[in-house]
């Protein structure tokens, strides 16, 4: 006997193909909002009748205000974005609204105005059926100090509504995948920063989420762990949306299929890495200067990198024009140049 969801899918299939349905999902929110949760409790992306619907998240004019002592702060300002499967990098300086946006995407916070749709359904109305498809690693990964790695994962798996045998299987798999096997019975509080972060990632992946949201996932990881983590994310991004918020440019430069740059609560730019980098073409230069000229250069130029040469001179990389230093040569820009161009105050804080 068909359940309500099947009936809904079948009746929609009679009208249009799945691809058409997916593409048009964002255009039918008024109708979708009328569909009660019981009809949508099965994730739409699961394979049905041999076809698969790919998840799509749409942010429509999302704004978030906070009341503060000094007045109202606009943390996120009229953000509209369409997220499709792949790795999405959300770049921005500290305080640019990334975490607020991510918390709204997770349903932890509600937008002051605008809405977030998952396959055309408002996430605030979808409730548990949306959260079932979600994996979230917050910026500060909190855990109960008494828990061992295994027990913590069992606890989260139960909260995610996984049956016991599925939970057991996935926990074993993730512990191996994230090289946490040896510490499975250790208390999380006793683990290193990198291991704790991996436990955090494991909990986010327990339900095999279609939408994986990671807020500053590499903070506290050493360079080797960061590389391994990036590779893992690339592997995971198949058939799911992975949204990574960071101010560490290299975390997303090579693995993100698309990057959104946030500034002062607004999505300032979106595009692929090459598209974004191309904006800096002709604006990045390198030259060699004597050490005594450095102070003057620092005053007048936006230096993004500085290196000591063997002959005691300094090689500087700066953002600007060719005329600013005679002999300066144009060089290939990178995402970091764009980031530093957009957030000059981050220059000293950025970890590359």
């Amino acid at each position: 006997m068909k359940n309500h969801t099947d009936v809904l899918i079948v009746s929609l299939n009679e009208l249009c193909s799945f691809e058409e349905f997916c593409a048009g999902a964002s255009q039918i929110p008024p109708m979708a909002k009328l569909i009660p949760e019981e009809f949508t409790s099965c994730p739409l992306s699961r394979k049905r009748s041999g076809m698969e619907i790919i998840m799509e998240i749409t942010l429509e004019h999302v704004t978030k205000h906070f009341r503060e002592k000094r007045g109202i702060k606009e943390a996120v300002r009229d953000v509209s974005l369409r997220l499709t499967p792949g790795v999405w990098g959300l770049l921005g300086a500290n305080g640019s609204g990334k975490t607020t946006l991510m918390r709204m995407l997770c349903g932890i916070m509600q937008a002051t105005s605008g809405c977030i749709l998952c396959d055309g359904l408002d996430i605030s109305l979808s409730g548990g059926s949306y959260r079932e498809r979600l994996g979230y690693l917050p910026q500060e990964f909190g855990f109960y100090p008494e828990f061992t790695v295994r027990r913590y994962l069992e606890y989260i798996a139960a909260l995610k509504g996984l049956p016991d045998d599925t939970a057991k299987f996935r926990i074993t798999k993730l512990l191996t995948q994230l090289t946490l096997d040896e510490v499975r019975d250790k208390r999380i509080a006793k683990l290193s920063g990198g291991m704790k972060r991996r436990v955090g990632i494991a909990q986010a992946l327990l339900n095999e989420p279609e939408l994986l949201i990671l807020d500053e996932p590499t903070s506290g990881l050493d360079p080797g762990e960061r590389v391994r983590f990036r590779n893992l994310l690339s592997e995971l991004s198949r058939d799911r949306i992975v949204l990574i918020s960071t101010h560490i440019v290299s975390d997303v430069e090579y693995i993100a299929s698309r990057i959104a740059i946030m500034k002062e609560g607004d999505i300032f730019l979106t595009g692929t890495t090459p598209e974004l980098i191309s904006r800096m073409r002709g604006q990045v230069y390198e030259c060699v200067i004597p050490p005594e000229a450095l102070a003057r250069c620092e005053q007048n130029l936006h230096i993004v990198n500085l290196r000591n040469e063997e002959n005691g001179r300094l090689r500087i990389r700066y953002l600007g024009g060719p005329d600013e230093i005679p002999g300066a040569v144009s060089c290939a820009p990178c995402l970091e140049d764009l980031f530093l161009h957009l957030f000059p105050q981050e220059e000293r804080n950025t970890v590359i």
Partner: protein, 415 residues
């Protein structure tokens, strides 16, 4: 919901601090039930030598000496006690002096002492409240003891409730419900009753400390964001957490109080639970109950206060950002009614102990004292209500209020 509740319950019970507090509560139940008996001392004479017994041996000796007078408190027993007092004071002098023979006191006066003390109390002066000397009490007074009790209650109320004649009328009505005779069985004493009140207060404090970090610890560590983004969501989580805290508190209370009462009553003797409240604390006690029922009432008041306090703590925890603030506030809220009542002792303090969830437990502010020693009434508009009833009703009404506030605060947090 059931699954989340079970998970949360297990998580709370596996937390080290919870286990520590639970173990402390259980250990205290044994310790505090056993302590009061150690305070009992009794001196008697054997082969011309003064002997002193301590603890359970002293209690056993007291029980043996009073076995003849135990049971119904009859005017005849009172008259006999008065006669024995007069006869022996005439022969040996003041029983309070060092020269009074210990053996005579133990064999002749002690068996009646608990009864004659109440007789002396009810013969207090109507205007000053001063108790007379035994010499001023006649056999006729002893034979009319139960009539004197009613007169004494009226006198006492007129003296203490000068501005509230309704309270006097209410007290007289309440006392009229008490059907004589009273009963007295040696054993359970006022120290034990005070320890019951004190233990209830400690139990409430421990339960509040178990509850204090429930919500705010997750805010503090950031675990909250992960939990809220899981399948069941914030509402189910709030309900599961609240239910778990209440379950832990009620179970702990039930286990610890059962242990406490079983031990204490076994030590002091179950028959002493049949002693009338009026014979142990004051003849003017307004409730027609014996010690056993008093234990039930005080325990019930303790459970209500504990649940109310736990509910308030849950609200505090949901509203605070970190465990230090929540724990500090919880301790302050638990202690405040006791400290304020002790320091101020005015109408405001009387109201605060009624209004604050922890007001029914603690020191002299507690329900136990309101029931046995102080005869207070509070005016609510045109009505006069006996304070102990308010101390049961108000915290009971606050339980759903604080729970709703806690759930609402948690659910709406971060939104």
């Amino acid at each position: 919901m059931k699954k989340v509740w079970k998970l949360e319950l297990l998580r709370i019970l596996r937390t080290r601090s919870t286990l520590l507090f639970l173990a402390a509560a259980l250990a205290l139940s044994v310790f505090m039930a056993c302590m009061p008996v150690t305070y009992i001392k009794f001196s008697y004479e054997e082969n011309g030598q003064e002997m002193t017994l301590n603890g359970p041996a002293a209690l056993a000796m007291r029980k043996r000496l009073r076995s003849a007078t135990d049971g119904e408190v009859t005017p005849k027993k009172l008259a006999a006690g008065l006669a024995a007092y007069r006869e022996n004071t005439a022969r040996y002098g003041d029983p309070n002096s060092k020269d009074f023979p210990v053996g005579i006191y133990a064999s002749e006066l002690f068996p009646y002492a608990a009864l004659t003390a109440r007789l002396k109390e009810v013969m207090a002066d109507a205007d000053t409240g001063a108790v007379p000397d035994y010499a001023a009490i006649s056999e006729t007074d002893a034979l009319g003891f139960y009539d004197r009790c009613r007169i004494h209650v009226s006198d006492l109320m007129r003296m203490e409730q000068r501005d509230n004649p309704d309270a006097v009328t209410l007290a007289e009505k309440m006392y009229a419900q008490i059907q004589p005779p009273f009963y007295y069985y040696e054993g359970y004493d006022s120290n034990m009753a005070e320890y019951l009140g004190l233990y209830l207060f400690l139990l409430m404090l421990l339960c509040a400390l178990v509850t204090a970090p429930l919500f705010c610890a997750e805010y503090q560590t950031g675990a909250d964001d992960i939990l809220r983004s899981t399948k069941y969501g914030r509402r189910t989580l709030a309900a599961a957490k609240i239910l778990s805290a209440l379950c832990v508190s009620v179970t702990l209370f039930a286990v610890c109080m059962t242990v406490f009462l079983l031990i204490s009553n076994s030590i002091f003797g179950w028959d002493s639970c049949r002693t009338s409240l009026q014979m142990l604390f004051s003849a003017a006690c307004l409730l027609p109950v014996n010690i056993g029922r008093m234990q039930v009432l005080v325990t019930l008041a303790g459970l209500i206060a504990l649940l109310s306090c736990v509910s308030l703590t849950l609200f505090v925890s949901a509203a605070c950002r970190n465990t230090t603030t929540a724990t500090g506030l919880t301790i302050a809220l638990c202690l405040f009614p006791s400290v304020f009542y002790m320091m101020a002792g005015n109408d405001l303090a009387a109201w605060l102990r009624v209004l604050l969830p922890s007001g029914a437990l603690g020191g002299t502010n507690s329900f136990f004292y309101a029931l046995t020693f102080y005869f207070e009434f509070l005016k609510i508009g045109p009505w006069t209500v006996w304070t102990p009833w308010l101390m049961l009703a108000v915290p009971a009404a606050e339980i759903p209020l604080f729970l709703l506030l806690a759930a609402r605060t948690y659910v709406r947090r971060s939104l």
